[in-house]
């Protein structure tokens, strides 16, 4: 395995020809490696050690961690700060940016700052509505949405200009990502929306949780027909469900998550629901990786982060590759 196949996350490696960022994720995806990312939920704390504790759980299992930006409209440590802390240990971080809480002025400032501390990948999101979270009284901003956000960041990177047209002396070298939800109506519009995101600048895609492989296959077939899988790397969202009750709760309360009845029945009928949830997740990863156009998986294991290492190991998707982590080279 060469340095370029399995690069150390944090080093400011030279920008390779044709690459947008010096980051690990872009290198792995372009090298054709099946890539694993995981969601890191930022702490409700000002202690950086809590970020490291959460990161260490994923050591050796994932290629990069997504620092969420007030996910579910709940208040947590900011994504840019989590990324800054992760970068101290050379971890590879994907900074999530949501349009719910900040306008175009604030976001552009954060992106320059993030690139300055070595953040190489940014996931552009519209964001959940404030009604979903712990501060429903807050003013929703939504000055931009995911597509206009992508276009703005691409302009900063490729034209070295702010949205206003003012010049940036050193552009942010970032690999741009977006989300996709193939599981919610209007289903026929979902591939078109993905095409628009790619046209606006998305280079990688992380999807919403997949619990319905058939629907994903239909979506991916259309995506491949349109040639979109050749224009962006698609990582499918997966995760373990803790129990039938937890699944039911997610279905009711978390916007955009589609869980078929068959999955809930299977969990409910199991003697060890947590174990069954993990098994379903492993099966999902193995099925998903066989689908044409899928470049990796994005694991979201909220409050079950300790299962991620086993899930990745037992699904054998890394094919013997151990993702870089701090201390990997120590004897």
């Amino acid at each position: 395995m060469t340095m370029l196949d399995n690069p150390a996350a944090g080093h400011f490696l030279p920008l390779e020809p044709g690459h947008s960022s010096p980051g690990r994720i872009e290198k792995l995806l372009r090298a054709g490696e099946f890539t694993v990312t995981a969601e890191l939920s930022p702490p409700d704390s000002s202690d950086p050690e809590e970020v490291f504790e959460k990161a260490r759980i994923f050591d050796g299992s994932v290629d990069a961690m997504n620092a969420t930006d007030g996910s579910g409209a709940n208040c947590h440590m900011s994504s840019v700060a989590v990324c800054a802390i992760l970068r101290r240990a050379n971890y590879s971080a994907i900074m999530q940016v949501s349009c719910r809480d900040r306008n175009r002025i604030a976001i552009q400032g954060d992106v320059l700052g993030a690139a300055a501390i070595g953040v190489a990948s940014i996931l552009c999101l519209t964001g959940d509505g404030v009604q979903a979270g712990d501060h429903p009284q807050a003013k929703p901003v939504f000055d931009l949405e995911s597509i206009t956000l992508l276009a703005m960041l691409r302009k900063m990177r490729d034209e070295s200009r702010f949205q206003s047209g003012r010049k940036i002396t050193h552009p942010p070298r970032v690999f741009l990502g977006a989300a996709a939800n193939p599981f919610r109506p209007p289903l026929d519009f979902r591939p078109i929306r993905l095409a628009k995101k790619i046209e606006a600048g998305a280079q990688f895609i992380q999807t919403q949780y997949c619990f319905d492989v058939e629907r994903l296959k239909q979506f991916m077939a259309r995506v491949c027909d349109m040639g979109l899988h050749k224009k962006a790397f698609i990582l499918v969202g997966v995760g373990p469900l803790a129990s039938a009750r937890a699944a039911e709760w997610i279905r009711q309360h978390v916007p955009g998550v589609h869980i078929p009845d068959s999955i809930i029945k299977r969990l409910a009928g199991s003697a060890n629901q947590k174990q069954e949830g993990k098994k379903i997740c492993i099966e999902m990863i193995q099925q998903v990786r066989e689908i044409e156009g899928v470049s990796g998986v994005h694991v979201m294991a909220y409050r079950q982060e300790e299962l991620v290492a086993e899930i990745i190991q037992e699904s054998r998707v890394l094919g013997g590759r151990t993702p870089w982590y701090p201390g990997i080279d120590e004897p």
Partner: protein
């Protein structure tokens, strides 16, 4: 609730034709508008525009109208102001994540676009909103754009 604007989106092809005809009429009035002055015309025309479009489409008068490219549905009725398609939060019944009683604006927009002659315009990317244009007439802005009459904030017009 929402019945008029949903009715309008179900007749998107008809309103597309009406709109195209109306635009031609407005454009032919350009010499008149110019003589009176576009700036002076903006308030009264915007008032009429708000009345008509508000009744038919519940429009929010953002000043950068996209009706013809969004299935004759005003995307500013989306609580997240999505102008390029539905977010991932749409409920399985096709209703809005934020206002559960409201059908998703983009579910209606996509259905409306399928009825239109130029429905594939929905695939084009809409630029971000210029918030300075809120409340101004997009009808006049369209005529100005066609006739090459500049204005402040023209980039978004």
């Amino acid at each position: 609730m929402y019945s008029v604007r949903r009715w309008a989106s179900r007749h998107a092809r008809f309103f597309e034709a009406v709109y195209n005809g109306f635009e031609a009429v407005l454009t032919s009035l350009h010499p008149l508008f110019r003589r009176i002055g576009y700036a002076r015309m903006d308030k009264p025309v915007a008032a009429v525009e708000k009345l008509v479009k508000g009744f038919l489409f519940d429009t929010k008068m953002c000043g950068s109208c996209t009706l013809g490219a969004t299935g004759m549905v005003c995307p500013m009725n989306c609580p997240k102001s999505m102008r390029n398609g539905p977010c991932g939060g749409v409920r399985s019944n096709g209703h809005c994540e934020i206002k559960p009683e409201m059908p998703c604006v983009w579910v209606d927009a996509f259905a409306g676009s399928r009825l239109m002659r130029d429905g594939d315009r929905i695939q084009g990317i809409q630029a971000m909103v210029d918030h300075r244009l809120q409340g101004s007439s997009s009808w006049l802005r369209e005529v100005r754009r066609k006739k090459g009459v500049p204005e402040i904030g023209d980039a978004a017009g």
